[in-house]
Symmetry: C2
């Protein structure tokens, strides 16, 4: 408990995983830094019985705290939506208003099918995502440079510039075949990017980072090593950026970016986003 | 273009990555299977100039198609929210109503800080996620059974039952140290789970799958192999389930589940969700 902050309980209630409710709900809550929120997610609430248990838990919470909780819900079934609205809480139904606006705009009644967004959905699309994860694992960290023909993007940068998690995120979320290649002192001694990379020049995307941030990240892995020393980071980054620039490879500075932000920037920077839309 | 389906254009407009807008927007759109949606995301729209370009693109689309598009937006800045509402579109502002409801409920004015949900956010939490991804990569597929002390969960099952993508998802999204161990014919010949696993019994979580589905997945990787043959899948699954049951390890059937659904089920099934809340 943080002194001076208001305490409020929050529930995310969903008929499926609750991922969407949490995501939008938490984004909204970040707008209230003066409140400390105690969050609970109730996923797979897909029957009247389960919903009644959820409402009982919410009402218990309201009684115990003497203050009604905030509930974010993503429930498709209308009966469940009516029931959750009866809870002793500020109930924010993330579907209600929007579904009716869309119905009148599109001139169609909604299907009321259960949340499709985090199920397997289109099996081919899902399979592509899982295949991409496997491809990325087999082409992580330059361990396999022969199958770059299938790569859709190849991230290039010094060790710990964010390549691996970004590749995995691109594969998992977007089904992108993402390989990555770490630039090491071996590469710096030659005057150009390795031939195995230059054969796929159009797919290359460079990641860079400030030396200070890189040294911090590397120090957590190998404290007080030459690998993590600031001067070494500086010289590796300088050499890597030179090679990338010389090869006319686009470069993204990841210093202050999350893996999600890096991934989206790459999707747009490479034009891969267009393939995803088709 | 699918014959007989209405065509409608959709834009997701965000001041950050657009992930939240896409997620909720797409969930809502899945409720209208009779309409074919052409989706475009406009991320990082964080200034009046960028917003004017976005509005121009939306209005162009409305003119060309003779029908106004649907716009889902997650914009924090009020000026930008007012501007997007002027576009020739059905504008669904995923923040507007909710922010004002929360303001009056919480008795606080919202901070109007830019979308924090997919930035680095709390650096320690973010670092934990990246560390967990690294841990998971080093403990994938039983390649390293010595560091199970640090594991928070160890998924156990036959090859291709969903262990690896689930571990990566748990690590990437929730910062969970997730290892996995593939049960192979070597394990089946003994009468119990390997000692390296049983030493961490409380962390074990079994994944199973129907033989038909497993054979299908394996056939895509190694067509017409003994590995993928239905009878072999049946006997591997039977042997694996026997070992898991004998070790009193909980078993989850992943046959019809997405990686997101498996991950959430494990978070709740193991009780790990409680650690995440604290």
């Amino acid at each position: 408990m943080t002194p001076g902050k208001t305490q409020r309980s929050v529930f995310f209630v969903s008929d499926r995983t609750g991922i969407t409710a949490e995501l939008l709900g938490k984004t909204l809550l970040t707008q209230f830094p003066g409140v400390e929120f105690h969050k609970r997610t109730l996923p797979f609430v897909d029957s009247v019985e389960k919903l009644q248990i959820a409402v009982a838990e919410i009402n218990d919470c309201a009684r115990q705290e003497g203050m009604r909780p905030v509930v974010f819900s993503t429930l498709i079934d209308e009966k469940l939506r009516t029931l959750i609205a009866s809870a002793e809480a500020l109930c924010i139904d993330l579907f209600a208003d929007f579904i009716s606006q869309l119905e009148s705009e599109l001139g169609q009644v909604s299907s009321h099918a259960l949340g499709l967004s985090h199920g397997m959905g289109d099996e081919l699309v899902y399979q592509k995502r899982m295949d991409a994860v496997n491809y990325t694992l087999l082409h992580d960290d330059g361990i396999n440079t022969v199958n770059y023909d299938r790569a859709e993007v190849i991230l290039v940068g010094v060790s710990r510039s964010g390549k691996t998690p970004t590749c995995l995120y691109l594969a998992m979320q977007y089904g992108i075949y993402a390989a990555n290649y770490p630039l090491t002192p071996d590469d710096f001694s030659s005057q150009a990017l390795p031939k195995s990379l230059m054969a796929h020049k159009a797919k290359l995307y460079g990641l860079t980072i400030t030396a200070e941030r890189l040294a911090k990240i590397r120090n957590e892995r190998k404290p007080d090593s030459r690998y993590a020393a600031l001067e070494n980071c500086q010289s590796e980054i300088r050499a890597a950026e030179n090679l990338l620039r010389q090869g006319h490879v686009p470069i993204l500075d990841t210093t202050t970016m999350s893996v999600e932000e890096i991934a989206i920037s790459i999707l747009y920077g490479t034009g891969l986003i267009k393939r995803l839309k088709s």
